[in-house]
Subunit: 122 residues, 2 copies
Amino acid sequence: MNQQQRHLIEAKTVVLKALAHPTRLYIIEELAQGEKCVCEFVDAVKADFSTVSKHLLVLKNAGLVEDEKRGQQVFYRLRMRCLPDFISCIGTAVADDARHKVSQLTPELSVPKPKNKRSKHT
Amino acid sequence: MNQQQRHLIEAKTVVLKALAHPTRLYIIEELAQGEKCVCEFVDAVKADFSTVSKHLLVLKNAGLVEDEKRGQQVFYRLRMRCLPDFISCIGTAVADDARHKVSQLTPELSVPKPKNKRSKHT
DNA sequence: AACATATTTGGCCATATTGCCAAATAACCA
DNA sequence: TGGTTATTTGGCAATATGGCCAAATATGTT
């Protein structure tokens, strides 16, 4: 690994770190459906205004969202459009994993594998 | 956000946290090209054997890789195949961001935008 | 059995991340 | 101007993460 490779890896890591928190991931998923203002998140995640604001700053610094002030409100929207697809892929994967774990423990309770659709991972 | 939504979000977060470290991201990118044994990573990342081993454990617990012992070596391989695409999308995005930042500071040094290709994000 | 190699585990300390509170800004309204 | 709402910032304590060392395991070799 040379200097440049390391630098690129670290830049990507900034993005991934930004995603790697439940509240921030929730925010990103919400923003996938369109812009929202800060107060909407405060209600949804039941955290302090300052906490949400700091999470949004992390997302902004990582280049995942951009903000725009309109009146007294600040609206955020997604900048990196490949995120929703990826997140849904992860979602599929973890759901599959959960099913496999359940079926190992209690085979009779497991949900049968869908037949004509296949998940996007593996 | 209800209980189930929260649970799913947290499961996804485990995956993202696992990716969000330079050494682990490097490992995942290497594994995208095929299985490798632990010692190969130790050489490449210049960290203690125990450190690498722990990083691999994080990846395994998150369901991103699986391992197989053959002889005295343990080989790891990727389990979640949507990862490489996503990581390369992030790579494109951070590269674009870097170019934009440079062009804001020193326009004459900036790389011109490619004309017929467009990056996968935005 | 004794030894070498490959890897994992336990422990410990340094550093980074979170979340809350209080205070500071900013825009709008009376 | 003074007050209200929306948001950000600074500071701090609690918790989580990362990395190294030493010790434990596991496999293969002599």
